[in-house]
Amino acid sequence: MNISSFQQRVKRAKAENLWLLAGLALALMPHFFSLPLLVMLPSVILLCWRLLFELHYLALPPRTVRWLLTLVGILAAWVAFGTLVGRQAGVGLLVIMLCLKLMEMNAQRDVGVVIGLGFFVVITVFLFDQSIFMGVYMLLVVGLLITALIAFSRDQSVISQWKNVQKTGVILAQAVPLTLLLFFLFPRIPGPLWSLPTDGAGAGTGLSDSMSPGNISQLSDNDSVAFRVQFDTPLPSPQKRYWRGPVFTQFDGRTWSNPYPQRFQNSLSINPQYQVSGEPSLYAITLEPHQQSWLFALDLPAILPLDSRLSVDFEIIATQPIQQLVRYSMRSFTEYQLAKNDAPDLSIYLQLPAESGMQARKLAQQLRQKVTDSATFVQTVLSYIAEQPFYYTRQPPLLLNDPVDEFLFNYRRGFCEHYASAFVFLMRAAGVPARVVTGYQGGEMNPQSDYFIVRQSDAHAWAEVWLQGEGWRRVDPTSVIPAERIESQLDLVRIMPEMVGMGESPDWLKKVGRHLHFGWDRVNHAWNQWVVNYNTERQQNFLAQLFANMGFDHIDWREMVSLLAAGIMLVMMAVAMSILRPWNRQNLDPAQVAYERFCQRLSRGGVLRQSAEGPLDFAQRVGQQHPQRARDIHTIIALYERQRYTAYPTQKNLKQLQRAVRNFTL
């Protein structure tokens, strides 16, 4: 096949169907990441089939084959998902059915149906990804589908495809202000309206519900954002930026986990089990979806977000897995002391696996015997870690048989999980109740804005020990490793926040890189704040503030609806003005206007046109009366005649006529 014949095929194809197929193909693309190949592959094959049909290479399948294909499609979805209900299976079924519909899209009605289903596919993509990139990408898809709609409704008109695209651009541009109005003012109903079938949580990023130091030989360097924080109060000092997450109490020799995830505090509010000092930190966290139920907060949270509970280990557990970006306001006391009389059942915090860490147990006994109380024992163990040649590394050796002993006595190389795990083991071996706490530590301010970023690479694990008369106390064994034994500069900055600035390189390229990096993060943050997480609560706050500025002190949905209606009316009127152009509706032909003006000028010079006198006769007569102006007069009349009486008058001719009349004086 040579190029020119292919071009002819494209030209002969129905333009609206080509636009539609392009839109659908782009709409389906993101689903390759969220749907199984068993569903996507047949869909793409069907799409290509239709494309080849449009280009007259292939025929559409006959009815029996279509039925067979439908059956195969449903079967493929069923095999791929094991069910036909639920979010993923539903989306998969929609995608397959849409592509099957392409096999029998003939009538006008079918094209409308397929374009409509195309918009549905776009919406299903948003169920899996609401990033700024996806938003822009899907705008492109909507543009293509709208262009298909225009090409479709233009019938047999001879509009160029470029005109169709232009029209799409105009319509989208005019729709944007209305969309913004609707988005910000349309009263948001807190969903869901009915309970949604829950899928098995997809692969989440971030912290997991167990911890196995020694199983990982490479700490991932995942730079993606875990959550962003907006502080209303001054930032807590770097040493206090511990963001509490899942807590582990049980160790089987390899893995730390929490066997009692459903043990919640009795009261939903924080009961005064602990004493606090200092001012509370007030802040709002925007948490990226991580498919688990933990909400993070600075140690120690003082309030609970909506739809969440507090476990006995001070974890905040949401009632639903976090599958979408959420924003919640928090209050924490970074200086706290748990109540002395808080003496829960401590036995579970002393649990140790039967057959491992024998050497470590011996070490704990030895060290414990040298000191009198638990607090001093904690210091002794920390000194032990600081003095012995322990290294902090992101590439620790695998610990195959007895992770605790191998780490403490053979390799002495590891990252936070190794240290937290070994430390808690030693504590328990010496009879001090202890637990492993995971979460995030540190984070950084976006220098271009007012919020704080905590990344996945800030994930951390530390320990908590229960001391008689003091309660739970946070101990971070990683922090005692001397700087020279930390392998990477970046980790040094993270582990020892007070040394920030030492690792900075003055390289301008890095500065620009950092600038762009934070600039982009800022855009993402704004997108999250104003688009992805614009929910009922945010809308209330935003509008309350807006109305407060306008002098109202209260807003409810009635005002929102009136404001919305007024706004829509205003925008529609503005758009109507720009496209209907009511001032452009004069009934007179502009050539006629110019001619009337010409006659007016002549009458001022004393030459009156007789009512029955046509332009040519009139020109003849005036030309005879004023021979010196005869040429101009005849030019004007010729232009006028051409404008009025030829089949296709041109703008250029009209302009000439108007100019000639303007310059004419008798």
Partner: protein, 337 residues
């Protein structure tokens, strides 16, 4: 020629009651004498079937957005809703402020499709696309009108009955650009058209001898004596063709005269007494056509109508018009349209 009186109410001077009458919505404005300007109140708009379907779809999308609390789903739903609203204006504008006129239609024979010339004058600097033109009960045609130009389109009108009729109501309709709405306007101009009876297939002209065919010679020259027939040659006057042999299918012969001679042929209703009225009219129409083609000097006699001898297209039209309007009460017929 009679004309029904039509009140010419323009949308600018109509009473409030008239303006909101449902009759306008379904039937249009009644017939009007001049070009029609499609002012705002003359263009109607409602969602099309596809528009209703899209509206339902958006509702489902909104439910989905609420249920999944998904902001970008909200954005998409609102974007589509906005496009929906904007489409109203675009579709409306596609017809608004057009000037519509219906031109004169040359008479046609019954059963033929008359081409009704429709002028669309667009004095707006935006083009109108995919405007569907349709006369009531007829096939439609699509047309575009470029910005600041006018466009002449022939709209088909199938004729089924002889007589004189008013051009039926013209509907201008458009769904452009998105097909989600249908805007339409009615135009009824007081333009009439004539439908001749269908000429039948009987080509035999009546026999001259059995009719009042006068042989008028050029007296004084003695040159009008019929001398015989010879084969027809190209260039011979058609008046001298011996039509009887042509009509019998025996070939063309030219009559030779000693002097000059004209044939005068009367086409008479009374010659066809056994036939039905419409069949008679069809036969007479055929005769008029044939006689005219042969450039004969012919006249037409109908009960109550007598068109004297004559030649030429105007004469032919007079005869055909008489046949078309025979026995038709114009007042009744026109007003019933």
């Amino acid at each position: 020629m009679s004309r029904t009186t039509v009140s010419t109410v323009t949308p600018t001077n109509m009473s409030l009651r008239h303006r909101f009458s449902l009759k306008r919505f379904f039937a249009g404005e009644g017939s009007e004498p001049g070009p029609v300007f499609l002012a705002q109140r003359r263009v109607y708009i409602l969602p099309s079937k596809m528009g209703v379907y899209f509206a339902a779809m958006m509702l489902i999308m909104l439910l989905g957005a609420v249920n999944y609390n998904n902001s970008l789903a909200y954005v998409l739903t609102f974007l589509l809703a906005s496009i929906f609203f904007i489409a109203i204006l675009h579709t409306y504008r596609n017809l608004l402020h057009l000037r519509v006129d219906v031109g004169q239609i040359p008479a046609v024979f019954c059963g033929e499709v008359a081409q009704v010339p429709v002028m669309l004058d667009n004095r707006h600097n935006a083009a109108r696309y995919a405007v569907k033109l349709q006369l009531r009960g007829q096939q439609h045609v699509n047309t575009d009108v470029v910005a600041d130009q006018w466009q002449h389109t022939n709209v088909p009108l199938l004729t089924t009955q002889r007589g004189r009729y008013q051009v039926p109501r013209l509907t201008l309709e458009t769904g452009f650009p998105l097909g989600l709405f249908r805007a339409w306007a009615y135009v009824q101009r007081d333009v009439y058209y004539l439908v001749y009876p269908t000429p039948d297939q009987y080509h035999h002209l009546p026999d001259e001898s059995s009719h009042h065919s006068d042989m008028q010679g050029d007296h004084g020259h003695g040159a009008d004596d019929f001398t015989g027939l010879r084969n027809y040659h190209a260039g011979d006057s058609l008046r001298h063709v011996h039509w009887k042999t042509v009509a019998r299918g025996q070939g063309m012969y030219t009559k030779q005269f000693a002097g000059d001679e004209t044939i005068e042929l009367w086409l008479d209703w009374g010659d066809l007494p056994t036939l039905d009225i419409e069949v008679r009219l069809s036969r007479l129409t055929r005769w008029v056509m044939d006689a005219s083609a042969a450039q004969l000097n012919y006249g037409l006699r109908l009960p109550g109508v007598c068109i004297p001898l004559g030649v030429g297209l105007t004469h032919q039209h007079h005869c055909l018009q008489a046949l078309a309007l025979y026995n038709i009460n114009l007042d009744v017929d026109v007003s019933s349209l």
